[in-house]
Symmetry: C2
């Protein structure tokens, strides 16, 4: 199908076109960029929410219930669920996704699961590209959900306007969240499964860590919300907190400046990806060949080999002039 036609067909009424456009973004690099350039002018209207946290915190359930909450307000919801997959096998581990099937039947909820498949670097770009497709299709709310275990996953949720970190009461969760870099990206926290023992201690531990970090009275202080998502407890409070954060951003003129900062980060990543792609697509540079020729000389450190390759690439760019 013609890309222009496809982009014109994008709407919340047409899940098929949306799905097709995301497939292009995900797996057809030759047409993805054309599509993304075409839809750009329709972007920027949706509110983007990032949801992350350690495995087993109940991210999918919170996403599920939150989507239902937005539907009750007659808002359409697009969901990108990023599955952490082994970079080696390429096979996605499902399970969580299955639970989402009940909301998937709602005509105004679109769910797409994206798997890691090798290049984690590429995934954050692709997930954000997919969110752009949902934005262009007219979804009011976009939720990007991913497990908070790596740098790339953090990049994904940081592209959102509001980022929520979900934890469980188990001891040490707050400390591990700190280690994983989750403390700094959270606009607020949800302690899910808070009917389990230790919920209050977990809340206190989190509060203590947050107080140590936040000295400036004027800056945004992340709240902590208790929830039992499987019983729909705390979901209204989460939705309200998202609203409160959005209002704060707008009142403090941070809404567009934050988006601009995120655009900077994104453009930087795209440029880097493109340059590296050019490097390895360049036919004169055959890494294995160069290594084969040079490997046996003990004077060729990896840094000498790298210089060698880089010189070849730059010479190639010069010839193309």
């Amino acid at each position: 199908m013609n890309i222009l036609t496809l982009t014109e067909e994008l709407s919340t009424e047409n899940k098929k076109s949306t799905a097709r456009a995301i497939t292009i973004v995900e797996s057809d690099p030759s047409r993805s960029e054309e599509l993304l350039k075409l839809i750009h002018k329709k972007n920027g209207r949706a509110y983007r929410i990032g949801i992350t946290g350690p495995p087993g915190a109940g991210k999918s359930t919170v996403t599920n219930q939150l989507a239902k909450n937005y539907r009750s307000k007659n808002l359409s919801v697009g969901i990108i669920a990023v599955d952490p997959t082994s970079p080696y096998t390429g096979g996605a581990l499902l399970g969580d996704r299955v639970r989402m099937s009940d909301i998937g039947r709602d005509p105004k909820i679109f769910i797409r699961s994206m798997a890691t498949r090798g290049s984690l670097g590429g995934l954050s770009t692709k997930a954000i590209d997919a969110a752009d497709v949902l934005d262009a299709a007219g979804y009011d709310i976009i939720i990007i959900e991913t497990v908070g275990v790596g740098q790339s996953e953090l990049e994904i949720v940081q592209a959102a306007d509001t980022t929520i970190v979900i934890l469980v009461p188990e001891s040490g969760d707050a400390v591990q969240a700190m280690k994983a870099g989750l403390m700094e990206i959270a606009d607020f926290f949800v302690v899910n499964k808070s009917d389990r023992p230790g919920a209050d201690q977990a809340m206190n531990a989190l509060r203590t860590i947050l107080m140590m970090r936040n000295h400036d009275e004027k800056s945004w202080m992340p709240n902590i919300i208790k929830a039992v998502a499987t019983e729909d407890k705390g979901i209204i409070e989460i939705a309200n907190e998202i609203e409160r954060h959005k209002d704060y951003l707008i009142a403090n003129e941070l809404f567009s400046s934050n988006r601009k900062m995120k655009l900077n980060r994104r453009v930087k990543e795209i440029v880097e990806n493109k340059l590296i792609e050019q490097l390895w697509n360049h036919s004169n540079i055959n890494l294995s060949q160069i290594l084969l020729e040079n490997n046996f000389s003990e004077n060729n450190s990896p840094y000498n080999l790298a210089d060698n390759i880089l010189h070849k690439f730059i010479a190639h760019l010069n010839q193309r002039k």
Copy 2:
């Protein structure tokens, strides 16, 4: 100090020079490369062991005990402990490191802790560079230890000749290890803290997953070793299994081909890092400026902005000719 002199002073007798060389590798990019090129000819003699696993699995304790075991065989041991740090604060969370201080006093054990500080991509390069310094200094065994939570951390331990994944008996640990990509990189597993309840079930779960994955009878089948590292239980078995894996690699002519494959990966990463460094160091490319100029036109998608920057960079390289 002169870099050449420093490299000549490297030895297991001289912890000060080794520490100084690693500091250069870690934080002085202008001199790091010269140093690494100079020491390259002294590299390749040490046996490299990678240790990873989820937070709290007892990686430091295993590393500690394993180092003592090697010392009892009169082998010198260099340890690189990579601390997962928030990419936002730059502050390392210590704690684990403290436990290592008793072995740190051994004159033939060198321990160095490296923190994430921002660029995770750079960290794997630097950790491997630091291992090269230890190799050149003459350490017989090099252990690189890091928490297995992200792509970058996996890259670090994969640079080793033998990679050990450490888990604890808690339910679901094996599944999470799968999700994090740890199953595929393990040459063998250690179920540490195996005096806790559930150890046998955890071993069985792991074994089942491994059996599903390994069909080829001739290929290496990762073993699972029970340990209680705090009580020194299972450490001899771990050391023996490392030896058995090394023998397997040599007998099957995989030892040098694996190292060559790892060199390929490393050179690739160095080239990419260098190219990206050139890109952003290039004075004509001011990302914020370009964005400022173009941001307000709705036709400028992130992909158009990226093209713009890439063209400027390539034009700059052409002018330099």
